[in-house]
Amino acid sequence: MKISMTVNGKTMSGEAEGRTLLSTFLREELGLTGTHIGCDTSQCGACTVHVDGKQVKSCTMFAAEADGAEVATIEGQANADGTLNKVQQAFQDHHGLQCGFCTPGMVMAAVSLLETNAKPSEAEIREHLQGNICRCTGYHNIVKAIMAASGQEVPAVAAE
């Protein structure tokens, strides 16, 4: 079947079977490989994108369910002039990534959090990231990056 969606503001379409996951559709049909597949078992959140403004795991949604939807992926996050957006820049400034595999999902989750909670506490950030796994950073620098991106002072976090 033919599926169409608005991805990062552009109308895009492609072919999908019933079983085609949104993550597969984005990566293989639309060539948007910034959305990563870390586990494919709904645990890690590397595949996090926004569908109609809501954060979802794209490996746990069929592409057909997003037919006609507005989808946002990491590829659309940079500012119009190509510079990093404030969350991306904060990840760079605060070493919120090492290998970078989890980062697209972390950034999409963080952007989603800041949309509804402009000044989250450290605890709220950690709670919001429960569905996003990072095997490198130990999370502290990710939390700091999100504090910084929300214009808050970056504290020394617990366990440091």
Binding site: G18, T41, T48, F62, E65, H128
Partner: protein
């Protein structure tokens, strides 16, 4: 994953007609169904998405009853019941993670009846009514053991009605990797009775701890259950916790829920 035909009707009647096909199955948030299909534990010929049916989404609150339509997602329930039914809102706000809550639905959770699912504990404690396209089923009759319910083939959960308690609280002892409850207890206090719904603990799935309900109805305090014991015989035993450990958790979580009410 095996392939299937995907359909997304906009009315309940169309959905029921589509479900009449052999091996057709409803799809709501997919947060349980998609992982099981990836493992090829499930092979529907057709999936009928319920998320395009406007009549299956929404929450209403009248005459002391909170009604949640079957395809309402967890994030919406957590947000919209925060003041009308904070105990339930608190339960739902801890299901999985934000992405899971944006997709997963009450109908999918209740119909799946995972032995560690959170919603069934509240449905049992509150003696909720599960409404389907065909009938109304009391929670006590609906949940029939691990992954088993009173639903017939092709029957859809359209609504769940909760009598709103005077006070309620859910205590979830998380299994840290999956974040499902290793044991979860929902306590609901009404004018004339107390409900205690337990999930994650028993081989028979969700259950009401009736001894505690009686003791708490007479004296609503954690002390009231201090002399009760939960038999470990029917409890789940796995690498995350022994049957005795779970039995112990039932009592501890019940006490905490009462104290938090």
């Amino acid at each position: 994953m095996y392939n299937f035909e995907f359909v997304k009707p906009s009315t309940l009647d169309e959905a029921l007609a589509a479900l009449a096909d052999e091996d057709a199955q409803p799809l709501s948030g997919g947060q349980t169904l998609i992982p099981t299909m990836k493992q090829r534990l499930n092979q529907p010929s057709k999936l009928v998405s319920l998320l395009g049916i406007a009549d299956l989404v929404g929450i209403s609150d009248s005459g002391g009853t909170l009604s949640i339509k079957g395809a309402t997602n967890h994030a919406t329930v957590a947000r919209e019941t925060a003041s009308s039914f904070p105990g339930l809102s608190g339960l739902v706000a801890k299901i999985g993670d934000p992405a899971v809550r944006n997709r997963g639905t009450i109908g999918g959770s209740i119909a799946n009846n995972d032995p560690s699912a959170c919603y069934p504990a509240a449905a049992m404690a509150c003696q909720a009514t599960i409404v389907t396209n065909a009938r109304e089923i009391a929670a006590d009759d609906f949940f029939q053991g691990m992954f088993a319910t009173a639903l017939d083939e092709g029957e859809i959960v359209t609504e769940v009605r909760f009598p709103i308690p005077v006070a309620s609280n859910y205590q979830k002892f998380e299994q840290p990797a999956s974040r499902f409850p290793l044991t979860g207890v929902f306590v609901a206090k009404y004018g004339d009775r107390v409900g205690v719904g337990v999930t994650g603990a028993s081989n028979d799935g969700v259950f009401r701890w009736k001894e505690a309900e009686e003791a708490l109805a007479a004296n609503f305090s954690a002390d009231a259950i201090s002399n009760l014991t939960v038999p470990a015989d029917d409890m789940i035993s796995d690498l995350h916790g022994s049957a005795e450990y779970r039995a112990h958790l039932v009592k501890v979580m019940t006490g905490r829920a009462v104290a938090a009410c």
